[in-house]
């Protein structure tokens, strides 16, 4: 184990995969000399050269499309997009192509492509850099959706993504990049997709989060324990597709209450999917309707006061929990 930050853990994963498999290469804006907007690819150009770490023109649809082509032809590319909002420019390539070509070709081709992108608010980057749309991508069959909350998972899941034969949307919360944690240095270390973790055990209520919201849920759980004598269990989903409902349902059957915590908008968000599945699978165990704590129904504003108002807070989670008793 080595203590490192999320950005360094992700870099280690890329490094190890570049070393392991010569079909792996990286495409993205400012990923070379600059080392990427969040310095995840720092030093990789030096180590692997401009043939495998390629600075691209500003053309999101272009680089995702080229990544798809390279994947079709047997390569294992990774495309870095600066933010999830810019991935909209590549939406047709991601949704109409990467997610569907395997199906449309009746299994003749597959697209082993890793598309990394930053998401999440709290950094004053406003409405076209800050949204949390993991749930939107989870809507599309054919894509794997990965959203780590800590450095160890970041490394293990990213390495695992390169071994997948499908397109993986790998979403990194901007607030997590500097987060420190213990990370295994074993090069065979992988985190399997579709396995949630119980971050904190508890008996009274289940708080479900992913990516950045896991930390909010954990802080709320501490507040609940210290101030309200409520013992909350916290679950980190880690991947939304595949989704580990077994862990969620087992927890809900124990606590009889569930709160989904996410930065995303509530309307049509992933929390709706979770609460529907909890209802379908554990209705008789519920003592209260599933609650959802999420962002306000507005584009993310810039000013600190406004951004703060638009994002969910730990207090919102505590309030949601207390209202269930």
């Amino acid at each position: 184990m080595v203590e490192m930050r999320m950005r360094d853990a992700l870099r280690e994963a890329l490094r190890e995969e570049l070393l392991r498999d010569e079909r792996v290469f990286l495409l993205g804006e400012d990923i070379g000399l600059y080392g990427g907007s969040y310095t995840v690819t720092k030093g990789l150009l030096d180590e692997f050269g401009a043939k495998r770490v390629i600075d691209t023109p500003i053309a999101e649809s272009g680089i995702v499309g080229a990544g798809i082509g390279a994947a079709m032809a047997g390569m294992r590319p990774m495309v870095e997009l600066m933010t999830i909002n810019f991935s909209f420019l590549a939406m047709d390539q991601i949704v109409n192509n990467a997610a569907k070509l395997h199906y449309m070709s009746n299994g003749q081709i597959n697209i082993p492509l890793v598309i990394r992108m930053a998401s999440g608010g709290g950094s004053q980057l406003a409405a076209t850099h800050s949204h949390s749309l993991e749930g939107m991508y989870a809507h599309f069959p054919g894509l794997r959706i990965v959203c780590p909350s800590n450095p160890a998972d970041g490394k293990g899941l990213l390495k695992r993504a390169f071994r997948d034969d499908n397109t993986v949307i790998f979403i990194e919360h901007t607030a997590n990049y500097s987060l420190k944690g213990e990370v295994p240095d074993d090069e065979d270390y992988l985190v399997e997709f579709g396995k949630a973790t119980v971050v904190r055990e508890g008996t009274d209520v289940t708080l479900i989060g992913y990516s950045g919201s896991v930390h909010q849920a954990t802080r709320a759980a501490t507040m609940l324990a210290e101030q309200e004598d409520v013992d909350a269990e916290v679950i980190d989903l880690r991947t939304l597709r595949p989704l580990d409902m077994d862990t969620v349902i087992a927890s809900v059957k124990k606590t009889n209450r569930a709160v989904v915590v996410e930065d995303d908008w509530k309307f049509g968000g992933f929390g709706g999917e979770l609460s529907a599945q909890i209802m379908e699978q554990a209705f008789d165990w519920l003592d209260a309707p599933v609650a959802r704590v999420s962002g306000k129904d507005v584009p993310m504003p810039y000013n600190r006061n406004l951004e703060f108002a638009a994002l969910p807070s730990e207090e919102d989670v505590v309030d949601a929990v207390l209202s269930m008793f």
């Binding site: 804006e29 400012d30 070379g32 000399l33 600059y34 080392g35 600075d55 023109p57 500003i58 053309a59 999101e60 649809s61 272009g62 909002n85 810019f86 909209f88 420019l89 004053q124 980057l125 406003a126 409405a127 076209t128 850099h129 306000k296 129904d297 507005v298 584009p299 504003p301 810039y302 000013n303 600190r304 006061n305 406004l306 951004e307 703060f308 108002a309 638009a310």
Partner: protein, 362 residues
């Protein structure tokens, strides 16, 4: 640059807010409107050019200082591009022609009427910021009354909006011109190509103005495109492409002015590329020592458009040192006033986050 031009008695009369319109009639009369032969510009225009460029730079400098002191969150500036911006915007008819700018275009906004105080409200994301009331990141310009179109952070998208504005104007027989700007790196995006093609097919009154400052964040132009001039791409769409020295405000004005009028008369779009240089890092979040050779920066710093223009005005005898120093001093005071005033203005309130998602029935 041309030789000595006979000196005329010039008097500038900027007040603290620096608006030319604040001059008295008498003061206005003292400024000659006749073109100075060597420049094809009047003294008043030259003076305004210098003032606008100086103000744009000084505002950017103070914004960066505020950011370093932790009093502003983010700055993205136009340093090095003042000549390209001021010369181009002065070719427009303010309040008539439209501007679909990009984030570096502080200089253009100033020409079209933005005050130092407004610029500081925007930088500090204050409740009264007339661009977005604190909702957008700084430098996402927009003013309905000045016909400046607000834009997202996603580069090159405004080029399509400009095309649509021009289409509407053509349908209404409205004799306007739309100027839209982006950096050279942004011309790699499909939106750039789609906008040019559409505008060319319909001969729309739009000028695509690319400020080539040598970099797209860390990537030098050679990594963005294999051709030397963005302007050459115009040919592929049947659009006239022109290259201009974007460090020379007079050359920029003289290139844009006829293009604007030809476009207005129905001659179709132009693609104009101003060669300039980004003198600062990409933004306050960027560390350009990671990728930019110091020597290159030092060489370009000698061509600083604000410094060079000032020097030229002196050498050509257009203005005396005291006159330019007086403008510098007025700008300094204007910026100081704007900073002090804007800092004590209120921030938006949390509940201000909520409105205007939909237009509600009035």
């Amino acid at each position: 640059m041309g030789g000595y031009v006979g000196r005329r008695p010039a008097r500038h009369a900027f007040d603290l807010r620096g608006r030319v319109s604040a001059m008295t009639t008498e003061e206005r009369r003292q400024l000659s409107d006749a073109p100075v032969p060597n420049y094809h510009l009047s003294e008043r225009q030259l003076e305004r050019m210098y003032y606008y460029m100086r103000l744009s730079r000084s505002l950017n400098e103070r914004m960066m200082a505020l950011q370093r002191q932790g009093r502003a969150a983010f700055v993205i500036a136009g340093a090095g591009q003042e000549a390209a911006q001021v010369g181009a915007a002065m070719a427009l008819r303010p309040g008539v022609d439209w501007l679909a700018p990009y984030y570096r275009d502080l200089g253009m906004n100033i020409v079209l009427g933005m005050t130092a105080r407004e610029a500081m409200l925007n930088e500090l994301a204050k409740a009264d910021d007339p661009n977005s009331f604190g909702r957008q990141m700084p430098a996402h310009w927009g003013s309905v009354s000045r016909k400046i179109v607000t834009q997202s952070s996603v580069v090159a998208t405004q080029l399509l909006h400009a095309t649509g504005i021009a289409l509407g104007a053509k349908m209404r027989n409205d004799p306007i011109v739309v100027l839209t700007c982006c950096g050279e790196g942004s011309t790699s995006r499909g939106d750039f190509h789609e906008a040019l093609n559409f505008a060319a097919i319909h001969k729309l009154p739009v000028i695509f103005y690319v400020q080539n400052n040598g970099y797209a964040i860390s990537e030098p132009t050679v990594k963005e495109m294999p051709v030397e001039h963005v302007a050459d791409r115009g040919q592929a769409y049947g659009i006239r492409g022109q290259v201009v020295d974007g460090m020379d405000v007079v050359a920029v004005y003289q290139t844009l002015r006829p293009a604007v009028e030809l476009t207005r008369r129905g001659n179709g779009p132009f693609l104009i590329e101003a060669k300039c240089y980004r003198l600062w890092a990409h933004s306050s979040d960027d560390d350009d020592t990671r990728y930019r050779p110091r020597k290159e920066l030092e060489e370009w710093a000698l061509k600083d458009p604000v410094v060079v223009f000032r020097q030229r005005l002196l050498e050509d005898g257009m203005f005396a040192e005291e006159e330019l120093a007086e403008i510098d001093e007025l700008v300094t005071q204007e910026v100081r006033d704007a900073v002090e005033w804007a800092q004590q203005m209120p921030d938006p309130k949390p509940e201000d986050a909520l409105g205007y998602v939909y237009r509600e029935v009035q």
